[in-house]
Symmetry: C2
Subunit: 194 residues, 2 copies
């Protein structure tokens, strides 16, 4: 029965299932069996491909980060000028794919993971660094030396909006989140405009 070349397929399925299960359960207390079952295989096979649960978590993080990165890059490619580029970053951050309970729940738990697992911390720092430099690129032409401070503030605001989504009931309100962030941006830029 064994069709060869299953490894990438199985791994992808496991990564996806990991995110879904973490989002569903709302914590990292997910058993490998649960994940494997959702991915349609035995837990032994999951261990065979990933070695440990922690590796699965890390692969899931990398995946989410990759998706987010791709989304930002895609949006950035179409945007002209600093203001539009900033808008693009925000739109990607709160895109339907990223800003949904399941992903947000996983995100939150990765933050917890980062407290214990160095590699998780590293990954999260990569994300923060990328966000920062994307924001900075747009902000510098508009705000000059204040750009650094603004990027820090905007970054924290974005993370905070994610965090608050966790407690909300009902479907996520992307528009409201984007509006809040844009509002921050505009009022900060007004003071600095010619």
């Amino acid at each position: 029965m064994p069709k060869l070349g299953m490894e990438p397929i199985r791994k992808a399925a496991l990564v996806k299932a990991t995110i879904v299960e973490i989002g569903r359960v709302g914590s990292l207390d997910v058993t490998v069996s649960q994940i494997a079952k959702r991915a349609g295989m035995s837990s032994a096979l999951a261990h065979h491909y990933f070695g440990s649960k922690e590796e699965m978590f890390l692969a899931a993080m990398r995946h989410i980060l990759t998706l987010y990165g791709a989304e930002v890059r895609g949006a950035l490619a179409l945007a002209e000028g600093p203001e539009n580029r900033l808008r693009a970053v925000l739109a990607a951050s709160f895109s339907a794919a990223n800003f949904r309970r399941e992903a947000v729940g996983a995100w939150l738990n990765f933050w917890v993971l980062a407290q214990t697992v160095p590699e998780a911390k590293r990954l999260l720092k990569v994300y923060q660094g990328r966000l920062r430099s994307n924001l900075l690129a747009g902000l510098r032409p508009l705000a000059g030396e204040r750009a650094e401070a603004l990027a820090a503030g905007l970054g924290a605001l974005i993370d905070g909006l994610y965090l608050r989504e966790v407690l909300k009931s009902g479907p996520p309100d992307r528009a409201a989140a984007i509006a809040t962030a844009l509002n921050y941006l505009n009022s900060q830029l007004e003071g600095a405009r010619p």
Copy 2:
């Protein structure tokens, strides 16, 4: 040996130990034995007083929330006028007692808990509601109808600054956090001032 009236003492010790251990371990994967040991008693006694680990977690949350509430109230009592009252709320939010790794770590994990445990969610909503109304009281005289939106943004920003503290290394920088929040506030208010 049994001195009577131990209950409140034991409970307080357990609550404190719970927060310390969660902060230390960085997750909710703390055993009752660890907590009990740090509080200087057997795990059986911990169960005797709290019934379950979940109850311990909730008691710890209530405690943190109570402390935070007291701090805000104290600061508010000394502040005159809307602007100073806003400042007071911010100062309390980032006070040395609240804005330290241990507490921030516990905070983050309570957020995770809120995804599963309704009572935890309720408590966190109480916190959000209080923060909101405190901010609103200061903002309404200064920003009129825009107060609601500002309070939402500022609230998210505060949570986001907490979140980011988790990844930082080195001691927490309260001043920087307050500066970021104040900066947000000022730039938002400038546009609305007479």
